[in-house]
Symmetry: C2
Subunit: 602 residues, 2 copies
């Protein structure tokens, strides 16, 4: 193998332009393809910046030509050569460098390469486990490189914006204390303190609040967080959030700041103008109108509550739902009245996955007739009345679900999304931001027979709701906000409680005793006694946000080395067994249940 | 308690200037001090930006005045008031805002505060454990805030520089694979994969090399790293490094790039001009001349090797050292001939701590006489000859150590530093950079009876030394470099091996079998088969670098929430015991030896 001794790259392969014609350049990169044609050898040389065509001929450089004969895909080369214009018939308009080629006078083979397990090109159809096992090849593909480049740019732009706005990036510990609230912790046994464990942070929440008590005023961190939860497609055991906290400002200030940050990042990185301020919608309204606290509002198709219209109906199905605290809601799918019956049956199955026991439909046919399986129970007048309530015109399809409020919200919400996809209502290039505000402070846990904090127990209640804290927690809403982008939660935060008496009330409302609070969050509560300022914060899920900005479907495509859904890295084979000596030093033993026990539990 | 509802801060307390006179401002912050004087109340209000004086009088605002009567240190206030010039006799030239004061018309007490355990002021003398337990108070002190502000600025400037130079910040995994080479790993038990463990990264070394194989070309990361080693003053279980790797460039390019980065950071953050290029010194020379691979060259005082001068001496002490492969070296402490005898005896003890069995001295008195305890063994001629060799003039003190080369290097090296401190040769404001290059590739491990890699086994040997790899590893030097600042290693890196045959030779040289290599680094070696480019990297220890830039003595002063030397966080009490349920889920058991065993082992 040869080295680059004495050579220095002139520029990236993808940066060669017509302006370089006549110049001698030094380039380096990977052989994307090699073609032999008419006694010449053509090599597409690829580096991070792009691809350029090399031409070799014994006439231009005999030694280089002979070396090129032995060259195969993914070999690493360094070359010297003169740039020239391609002849008109060989110009490649699809390539950025398609008007030029480099006539090679010197070629060095820096390294050979085995045949890669899949092509280094975009749009491949390869099992993801194979891509992850050979991630170093997968990451050579221009689209994957672009994801990481964009991610870098997005995060760098955020940092610059926050720096300009007087935020300090402050690192908080990774080896910290296990707090039993929240998700499951990853634990790290301590060698020096036998029997004791650190926990990897689920978020820097407590530390960033401590930094506010410290008077640092404006903090941010691109923070790695860890949750040992069962993984779904958009979750990873470790993930990254843009974590922020600031003092002495209110909700409007924070939302405004975030909007300006997003506007700046979208403009600078994607060259896209996004409109600010983002529209805001209260949690109650989002749930009532779209059945979701993260509604996709690239299209409307909101819910109509037709419960009142049906209270007097004799139709047993609706009646019993309404009598038992349920609701009847509908969506109007514009222009879909001609939907085939078989498809409607499919929709019944679809909502069934989300717990809905049935689905009623009313097609308002173009000829004025109705396509409806419940006319016989309600009468045509009632059906027309429902149509009016749902603003249905000729050609529209109204879909109705009657069930418990939670079920209606979820099933009709999912149906709304599904119908929008089928009707092509979603512009894949659009970015639709919303703030969802005024979340409920508590959720009643059927399991624990008590109210639990919807966010975390440091979230501040709305001033006007404080009176209900100890009498009816269900009436208390929080100063909390989520940033929603295209129907995905991109981030969330809240104003925090910073006054002792209010914090005590909140703990009381969720049945946490003073003693328990001390044990779990004692150091934060102590800190609050020494002069805590009013403060608030937000955290954006960076992996997800980058994924959305690049219109991708998986966060694994914006993470260099992600893990599978079994939390395994197919490349390094982490996690792995370790030496007994290591465990001994950490004062722990592996304690695997017998297979039988495992099966019994599963 | 009151809120800031309807208020918005005009600016930071420390930003109020004479130009604001007559304006009404809204300020918020902590009560630094309160003084009652002549019927008025004076409050120094402090926030991150500084301190400003508030004046309250019943005449300016009766309610505000009465609230101020109840205010104590560290209460959190928001105030409205008009800025006015102070009268000439009350101007405080020590304060940035000392020419003005704010006449308060409205005051809100946002929060009360208990009396803090120590004063919120610079230069306090408080036990560090107390400072760490109440870190949120400690971090209110202006000097601590400044450390974090400077750290933020330094790191932000580095990022901006690297971004401008086409480096991509790419996050690598924290939950990764345990590799038995190197320091002790922190382990994280896997719940989903019973009996298996992740390791927290000691550095992103393997991943950054994989990114080079991926063709990302220029990578950096402000990376948290973990080493479960016994802690010294300048070590933490988790620390941060600026980690970099790049392809297709040589050592000169990297060193030059780092020099420009440091120059830029020093200029932008500290407004200090530092000279580049940094001088380079080879490892052999550094060891020979200063006894250290990280020499402090803010002063010279290099070693003189006087072995040859003494080979023919009859003086048994020197003779037996020289006959047994030892060396005799000296330093010349200019102008210290008048050192008292008692102090010289102290120096003998001092070098004794570093293993030197003795110390000889020659004082060249101003009157031409000698102060020397070995004249009787060597004769005055020889002593004068030594003086000449050491360039000693009247008034100088020559200190001599004879021992094994390693002992001389360490003991005389430490003595050199100690004498420089005593002679006040070190300008505490100077920044003296050096590159130490050409490190030995291997070190002979007496313990393992084999050569081991001095850096890591992917460091490339110098081209001219490859021939000795399998015959005499001691002759092989590496393409490795350390950045040294004021005698502290601020970072280090190397060119990497990227060719299979060379890598195999190196493994062979340190007795790692093909099989063992596969098992430990298999995925990296595999990756290298698919077209690895020439690449190199460096990592700077950020905590240490920031500490040096701020002229501090402890890295704990530039880390927001550091741990003690027992790896404990006195604030959160991490690490802690955890619930049995947590351990069960992770398939591990605590396995503490009985106290008796622990004692026996200790």
């Amino acid at each position: 193998m040869e080295t680059m001794a004495g050579m220095r790259r002139s520029c990236g392969c993808g940066k060669v332009t017509e302006n370089d014609c006549g110049k001698e350049l030094t380039l380096a990169g990977w052989v994307n393809t090699r073609r032999d044609h008419g006694g010449l050898i053509f090599i597409d040389l690829r580096d991070r910046s792009g691809i350029v065509q090399l031409v070799l001929s014994p006439q231009y450089g005999e030694e280089a030509f002979h070396k090129a004969e032995g060259v195969r895909s993914e070999y690493v080369l360094a070359v010297k050569g003169k740039v020239r214009e391609r002849s008109a018939d060989t110009v490649n308009p699809k390539m950025k460098t398609g008007k030029v080629e480099v006539v090679v006078s010197e070629l060095r083979v820096l390294n050979k390469a085995k045949t890669p397990p899949f092509y280094v090109e975009d749009g491949i159809d390869v099992d993801e486990n194979v891509r992850l096992k050979y991630r170093y090849i997968d990451l050579r593909r221009p689209e994957m490189q672009n994801h990481l480049i964009m991610r870098h740019k997005i995060v760098h732009e955020m940092r610059t914006f926050l720096d300009e706005n007087d935020f300090l990036e402050i690192e908080t510990p990774m080896l910290t204390k296990s707090t039993p609230e929240g998700a499951r912790d990853y634990l790290v046994p301590s060698r020096v303190n036998p029997g004791k464990f650190y926990a990897l942070p689920q978020s820097p929440q407590l530390f960033k609040q401590l930094l506010m008590v410290s008077g640092l005023e404006r903090y941010f961190q691109v923070a790695r967080c860890f949750r040992d939860e069962d993984l779904r497609a958009d979750r990873q055991p470790e993930f990254t959030q843009l974590d922020m906290e600031l003092s002495f400002e209110d909700q409007d200030f924070i939302l405004d700041l975030m909007e300006h940050m997003m506007q700046r990042v979208f403009k600078k990185v994607l060259n896209r103008d996004i409109e600010i301020p983002f529209k805001r919608i209260k949690w109650d309204d989002a749930m009532n109108l779209y059945g979701s606290d993260k509604p996709d509002l690239r299209f409307d198709m909101h819910f109509y509550n037709i419960s009142d219209l049906l209270r007097d109906t004799g139709f047993k199905v609706f009646r019993s739902v309404l009598d038992n605290g349920g609701v009847v809601k509908a969506i109007n799918v514009k222009g879909d009245a001609a939907i085939p019956r078989r498809e409607l049956d499919g929709l019944v199955d679809y909502v069934g996955h989300y717990g809905a026991k049935g689905l009623a439909w009313i097609g308002f046919n173009e000829d004025g007739s109705l396509k409806c399986q419940i006319t016989k129970f309600l009468g045509e007048d009632k059906i027309r009345e429902i149509g009016k309530a749902c603003e249905a015109e000729k050609g529209d399809l109204v879909l109705i679900i009657a069930d418990k409020p939670k079920v209606v919200a979820q099933a009709l919400g999912e149906l709304r999304l599904e119908m929008a996809r089928r009707m092509n209502l979603i512009d894949p290039n659009e970015f639709c931001f919303r703030w969802v505000t005024d979340f409920p402070m508590f959720e009643y846990s059927e399991e624990e027979h008590r109210y639990v904090a919807e966010h975390h127990p440091f979230t501040a209640p709305r001033d006007e709701d404080v009176q209900h804290l100890l009498t009816d927690p269900s009436k208390v809403y929080a100063k909390a906000y989520d940033m929603v982008l295209n129907g995905v939660e991109a981030g969330g935060g809240s104003l925090r409680i910073y006054q002792e008496d209010l914090q005590e009330k909140v703990f009381k409302a969720i049945g946490i005793s003073q003693e328990e609070a001390e044990q779990k969050f004692g150091f934060l509560l102590d800190a609050f006694k020494y002069g805590a300022p009013p403060h608030a914060g937000i955290a954006l899920g960076l992996d997800r946000l980058v994924m959305l900005m690049l219109h991708l479907d998986s966060i694994r495509d914006v993470i260099a080395f992600p893990k599978t859904q079994s939390a395994i890295d197919p490349l390094t084979q982490a996690p792995s067994t370790v030496a007994d000596k290591q465990l001994k030093e950490l004062h722990i033993k592996v304690d695997i249940k017998k297979e039988k026990d495992l099966f019994e539990k599963a």
